[in-house]
Structure formats: structure tokens, C-alpha cells
């Protein structure tokens, strides 16, 4: 009917599986690397089971010496005397899965964490944006490798097929149903994602490939494996719909690293800080969002309340290097009451990111620079130390201004007498001798309902030294001293 399509056009939906072949190892290594230099070349393994007597997962070096998952720790240590051991921490696996889902959400609104060892996302609808697929796939591999996450990637018209193919053959992209049937028929049964008992039953009956099972009469198959497993097979091959529970991105960000030993020194704390911010920045890039600020939470030993440092940015920012610079300034200027046992990073607001105008020759606009300067100053000196000024509509001079965090451009509305550029607040008695009166009096009187009503006569005076003073006497206090309220600097 028609010629072959000019470009790769996959089925819709088209699912991408990011399979994590060594989730527990990656999660642990990422955690350790965040705290200090981590040696992945030496043999190490994670343990689980009663009293941590069983190997949960072993790294490449350990596996090369015969250590494998499910082995007794005692046998593993005999095979590999230098084996380093650590208890498997499922929370770290969960955190890595969650993080990977957030990453995938940057590419697709349909992301699922239903499968324990795989993150699934719908890639077909975003292919126009991030494709072509070979380039997109390379990007996924590069970025995830940079974060220390090993993935096997495959795409297929059904989520379960994508997962199965990723486990069988890294890099496979199956465009349509016909091709899928052919490949699935050859899929080793063990990779089809069937429940363990159903798998054992079928293997005992001599079935090796998925095609052998699919060739069976449906009624006979249902009798053998039960309707639930049959349904899973139907969803795998696309004979039945497979609605996935979808991942909802968090509205706030929170990540935490626990240290093995309490850390006090800022020069050591920068390592976990850098790791936390790198992940945070990648998360922000994926979400296409910048943050107006974030919080560093230093956990302490029992009984001591955590130390919280707010890092506020003048303009939403998502660049890892900038976030790190500001956080580091904050860290350097802070003093922890006691050493920290954990470091957390939290962000409550994750608004949309609007890329600033970036000229080819001017890396950042002056606006951007001003925002960055504000952030940098505030990070080291504190928010209160870096402020703008605003005019307040009142007649009482000392109340006619205020500090503001974020200033607004406003046209001056007040039409009053000359005002000094330096204010002295509260006013002090003028010590300098008065040479002459340049201007005045100007009566400044506030309404009776003003909080602190004033009634003063202001003068502009020249001191004998040549300074110009803004000074007043309370009405009725003409015999008293001059009160110096400012300098006409």
C-alpha cells in the first residue's frame, strides 16, 4: 500500500524500560561515593537474610572470584578473602528508584514504578522532542552513567515486553507488534517476568522460550498457570491492556545522606554537599524547573536539634555549579554546634523554569548577574545583611522608609522639603557648633493617630566645620538643643 516510512515511527504507546541490573549495588555505591572516595575495584558485597549471613549482591570483582547472590557469606569469604561486606539497605534502593522516576519524568508524563527492578516510561509521544531514538538513548546512557547508575535500556509497544527485552538484550528497540511477536517468541522464559512458582512449573514441563508457552492452547495454559499469570502474559504480548499506576512527581524535593562518622569540618562536608546538589540539579533540569531556594539540614546525634541553613536565590536557578557555590558560601559562614551525622537537602517550591535571555557573546544578562550577586552576598552574609530600600508614605521622617527584600520600581510620590541623603536614626544631639541657618523652619507634624506623633521644626544648618545638617527642635522646645536627624551628604 505505501512505501516504508522515511523515519523510524514506533507504535503508540511505545514504552521504554530502564532496567536496573544491579540496583542495590549502585544505590550503595552512590551513597558511599557521596561521602568519600569509594573504591569499586576491590571486591565488596551486600548481605541480607537472618544475621546478614547471605550475599544479596556482589560487585564485578567479587563475582569474578566466585561470589554470587544467594551464597552464604561464609562461603563467599572463603572464595574471596578480601571481600568487604555491608548490610543491604532497601531504603537506598527505593531512593534510587524514586530518583530515577523523577529523572524519567523529565522526558515523559507517563512514568511507572510498578516493576521493582525497572522504571518504565512512555517514550513514543516525546520522540519528536528528544529523538531520534539513537541519540536519545545515548543521552540516557551518558547521563545515568555520570550519576553512577547502570541501566539496560529497551523499548517496545508494551511495558512488560520492554522490561523483558531490556533484561534479555540491552539496547533493543522494537517498533511494532509484528516484530515484537517474533522477538518475544525467542525470549528466554526466565526473563518474561513470570511469578517464580509459575516459572518453575513451566520449566519443569520442559518449556525454555516464551514462544513455546504462547503456542499452547489457551485453555490448557490457563489450567496450568492460572488466570492471573495468563493475564500477565496477555499484557506482555499486548493481547490485553496494561494500565500502569503512574508516578506522581513530588511537589517538594528532599534527599538525605547519612554519614558513618560524625563530620564537623566544612572542608569534608563539601563532598556530600556536592553530591546532593549534583543530583538536585539534574532533577531540576529534568523537571525543567529552577528553585528560588533550598534548605540544608544537618542532622546531629540524639537530643540535638538539626541545624537548618536556608539558601535563598535572587532568581530561580538550576545550574549545579552555581547552586554549589552559593551553598558552599553558606556552609563556610555557618557554624555547626556539634558535628553532623547526616546532611539533607530540601526544597519546598519547585516552580517552572524560564530560561533567561542568553546572548551568544554575553553569557548572562546584567539582570542575571545582579540576581546572582544578590544570591552570593546573601549566602555568605545572610538575607538581612543585603537589602533594598523603599519609601513609605508617612510624614514622620524616621518612618518614611523601610528595608525590603525585593524592591519594586516606584516613582517618588512625596513632594516635601529637601531631605538629607544620610539619616541618623534615632536623632542625636548636635554637637557641632552652628555657623548659620541655610533653610527652615519646615514644620513636620503627624496626625494624632500616628503611632508616635511628632511635632517638629526642621532646619538645614551649616556647622562651623562646613557640614550641612538636617536638625530639628520640637515645637515648644526652642530653647533646647538641636537634634541632628541627618547629613546632607
Amino acid at each position: 500500500m505505501h512505501a516504508s516510512p522515511p523515519s523510524f515511527r514506533p507504535a503508540s504507546p511505545w514504552w521504554c524500560a530502564l532496567h536496573l541490573p544491579q540496583l542495590a549495588l549502585d544505590a550503595e555505591a552512590r551513597h558511599r561515593r557521596a561521602l568519600q572516595a569509594f573504591d569499586d575495584e576491590s571486591p565488596w558485597a551486600l548481605t541480607d537474610g537472618p544475621q546478614q549471613r547471605r550475599v544479596h549482591a556482589a560487585n564485578v570483582t567479587a563475582r569474578a572470584q566466585g561470589v554470587h547472590a544467594g551464597q552464604a557469606v561464609a562461603s563467599a569469604q572463603l572464595l574471596c578473602p578480601g571481600l568487604a561486606l555491608g548490610a543491604h539497605q532497601p531504603v537506598r534502593d527505593a531512593a534510587l528508584r524514586e530518583w530515577l522516576a523523577g529523572y524519567a519524568y523529565g522526558f515523559s508524563a507517563e512514568v511507572s514504578l510498578r516493576e521493582p527492578d525497572t522504571v518504565l516510561f512512555e517514550a513514543g509521544r516525546s520522540l519528536g522532542l528528544f529523538g531520534p531514538w539513537p541519540r536519545w538513548q545515548q543521552r540516557l546512557r551518558d547521563e545515568l552513567a555520570g550519576c553512577g547508575v547502570q541501566v539496560r535500556i529497551a523499548c517496545a509497544p508494551t511495558p512488560l515486553a520492554a522490561r523483558g527485552l531490556a533484561r534479555a538484550h540491552d539496547g533493543l528497540a522494537v517498533a511494532d507488534a509484528t516484530q515484537l511477536q517474533r522477538l518475544l517468541a525467542r525470549l528466554p522464559l526466565g526473563l518474561a517476568g513470570l511469578p517464580d512458582d509459575a516459572l518453575r512449573l513451566l520449566e519443569r514441563s520442559g518449556f525454555k522460550r516464551l514462544g513455546d508457552v504462547l503456542a499452547l492452547p489457551r485453555a490448557a495454559l490457563a489450567k496450568r498457570i492460572g488466570p492471573a499469570v495468563l493475564d500477565r502474559l496477555d499484557r506482555l504480548v499486548g493481547r490485553a491492556p496494561d494500565p500502569l499506576p503512574l508516578y506522581e512527581p513530588p511537589t517538594r524535593y528532599a534527599a538525605r545522606l547519612d554519614f558513618d562518622h560524625p563530620l564537623a569540618d566544612a572542608t569534608v562536608l563539601v563532598f556530600p554537599l556536592r553530591r546532593l546538589l549534583q543530583e538536585f540539579a539534574l532533577f531540576l533540569v529534568q523537571r525543567d524547573g529552577g528553585v528560588p531556594g533550598f534548605r540544608l539540614v544537618f542532622g546531629h546525634e540524639d537530643g540535638v536539634a538539626p541545624t537548618r541553613l536556608e539558601v535563598r536565590l535572587a532568581a530561580p536557578e538550576r545550574d549545579a555549579a552555581r547552586l554549589f557555590e552559593l551553598a558552599r558560601l553558606k556552609l563556610d559562614s555557618a557554624r555547626l554546634p556539634v558535628p553532623a551525622v547526616s546532611l539533607g537537602l530540601e526544597a519546598d517550591e519547585l516552580p517552572g523554569f524560564h530560561p533567561g535571555h542568553r546572548d551568544l557573546f554575553e553569557a548572562r544578562t546584567r539582570e542575571g548577574d545582579a540576581g546572582l550577586l544578590d544570591s552570593r552576598l546573601r549566602a555568605r552574609l545572610g538575607d538581612a545583611a543585603v537589602q533594598a530600600l523603599a519609601v513609605v508614605d508617612t510624614h514622620r521622617p524616621e518612618a518614611a522608609w523601610c528595608w525590603v527584600d525585593t524592591p519594586r520600581t516606584r516613582l517618588p510620590a512625596l513632594a516635601e522639603g529637601p531631605r538629607p541623603l544620610w539619616l541618623i536614626d534615632p536623632p542625636i544631639v548636635l554637637r557641632e557648633a552652628v555657623a548659620d541657618v541655610i533653610a527652615g523652619p519646615e514644620r513636620i507634624e503627624t496626625a494624632w493617630w500616628d503611632e508616635e506623633p511628632v511635632r517638629r521644626d526642621y532646619y538645614r544648618l551649616r556647622t562651623r566645620g562646613g557640614q550641612e545638617a538636617w536638625a530639628f527642635r520640637p515645637v515648644g522646645g526652642e530653647a533646647g538643643p538641636w537634634w541632628l536627624h541627618g547629613w546632607f551628604a
Binding site: 548577574d369 545582579a370 533594598a388 513632594a415 516635601e416 544620610w422 566645620g465 557640614q467
Partner: protein, 213 residues
């Protein structure tokens, strides 16, 4: 030591030799907003991208009014203004009445090394047109850092210092004494000889500060 071998620093200090600054040399000056002062300055204005020293016999002799036209103009051009550790409260109603866009101004309250750090950051950032600072007990090295930062960030760095600081040499591109009665005296200015007599910059204060409608 042979008489011909005189140290460069000494010559510079005696104002017999003027060091030409890097990129900024040769560029016309930044207009001060005061015609008589512009005429007296070698480049026709403030030496651009430089550290400039204003030396005061005391506070309140017109030192901010002298700079107001420069501040207002650069703020209108979208440059930020930074005041680091001012000795008094900058009074917002007076600044606004002079036409200064307060949204462009940041005031940093800090002391000692923090204040110097903030001034240097502001100068270097490229965002600030002007940084005003009041360095306390500052040494030559710190002033040199500010001077380099001003050049890198293409900013005017005004350092307000007591008059007695004139006795120390300074890397500033301009050293100007602010005198009562709307006068300034140039003690040093990059790119030319400083006029020996005071220059009237024409401060008619009541006009300059009258509120605008």
C-alpha cells in the same frame, strides 16, 4: 645606589609618573554630571572601570550629592548600585526624590573583611555600575584587589576614606578630596596631571534635592 635608579613606586607616589591601566586606559571618562568637574578631569569624567578614592575631612560635606547624577544615570541604564557598609542610613525618600530608581540599589550591612569581600564581589560581578564602600583600616593590598575587581567588572568603585589616608600611597585611579562648600581637590588622576586648585562642582544643594513631581 645611583641616583638614576629611582623606584617606580616612588615616582608614582610623587605623581611624576602615571601608570596606565590595562583595558580601561584610553577610554573616555564616565560623565560625572557636573560640567566643571568633567572639564577638570583628564578623561572628561570619572576614569572608567576603576577604583576611585574620595577623601573626606568629615561626613556630610556633599559627598553623596557629588555622585548622585552618576548613580541616577547608571541606574537608568539598568546597572545595579551597591552600597557596602555605609556609615549612616541612606535615606530612601531623598534618594527617590533625586530620581534614583531604588529597585537598582542594594545596601550591604557588614563589617571588616566581610565588607571588603562584598565590595569586591559587587565590583567583579559585572552587574554593578557603581559600588560605594567605606573601607576601614584598609591596606594597599586590599585596595589593589578592589581596583582589579573594578577593572574586571567594568564598574566604578568609590571608596570613601578619611582625609588623613592621603598620606598613604594608593592604587586608586583617582584621589579626590571633597571639601565643604561644593568644592573638590584632585590629588591624583589617571591619564593626566591634576589641577592644583580646587574645582567647584556647582552644588546648589536645595535645587539638587528638591522633590520632583
Amino acid at each position: 645606589m645611583p641616583a638614576a635608579l629611582v623606584s617606580l613606586d616612588a615616582l608614582i607616589h610623587q605623581r611624576r609618573l602615571w601608570p596606565a591601566a590595562g583595558q580601561a586606559a584610553g577610554r573616555p571618562g564616565e560623565p560625572t554630571g557636573h560640567a566643571d568637574l568633567d572639564a577638570a578631569l583628564p578623561g572628561g569624567g570619572w576614569p572608567p572601570a576603576s577604583l576611585l578614592e574620595l577623601l573626606l575631612p568629615m561626613d556630610g560635606v556633599g559627598e553623596l550629592r557629588l555622585l548622585l547624577p552618576t548613580l541616577v544615570r547608571l541606574a537608568r541604564q539598568g546597572r545595579s548600585l551597591l552600597m557596602v557598609a555605609p556609615p549612616y542610613l541612606p535615606y530612601a525618600p531623598a534618594l527617590a526624590a533625586a530620581g534614583l530608581d531604588l529597585a537598582r540599589l542594594r545596601v550591604v550591612r557588614a563589617e571588616g573583611r566581610d565588607a571588603l569581600w562584598a565590595a569586591e564581589q559587587g565590583l567583579r560581578s559585572g552587574a554593578c555600575g557603581v559600588v560605594l564602600c567605606w573601607p576601614q583600616a584598609v591596606d594597599d593590598r586590599a585596595l589593589r584587589r578592589l581596583s582589579v575587581a573594578a577593572e574586571q567588572g567594568d564598574a566604578l568603585g568609590f571608596a570613601f576614606r578619611p582625609l588623613r589616608a592621603l598620606q598613604q600611597p594608593s592604587p586608586a585611579a583617582l584621589r579626590m578630596e571633597v571639601m565643604p562648600g561644593g568644592l573638590v581637590r584632585l590629588h591624583k588622576c589617571r591619564g593626566g596631571a591634576a589641577p592644583a586648585t580646587p574645582v567647584a562642582w556647582g552644588a546648589t544643594p536645595s535645587v539638587a534635592l528638591r522633590a520632583v513631581h
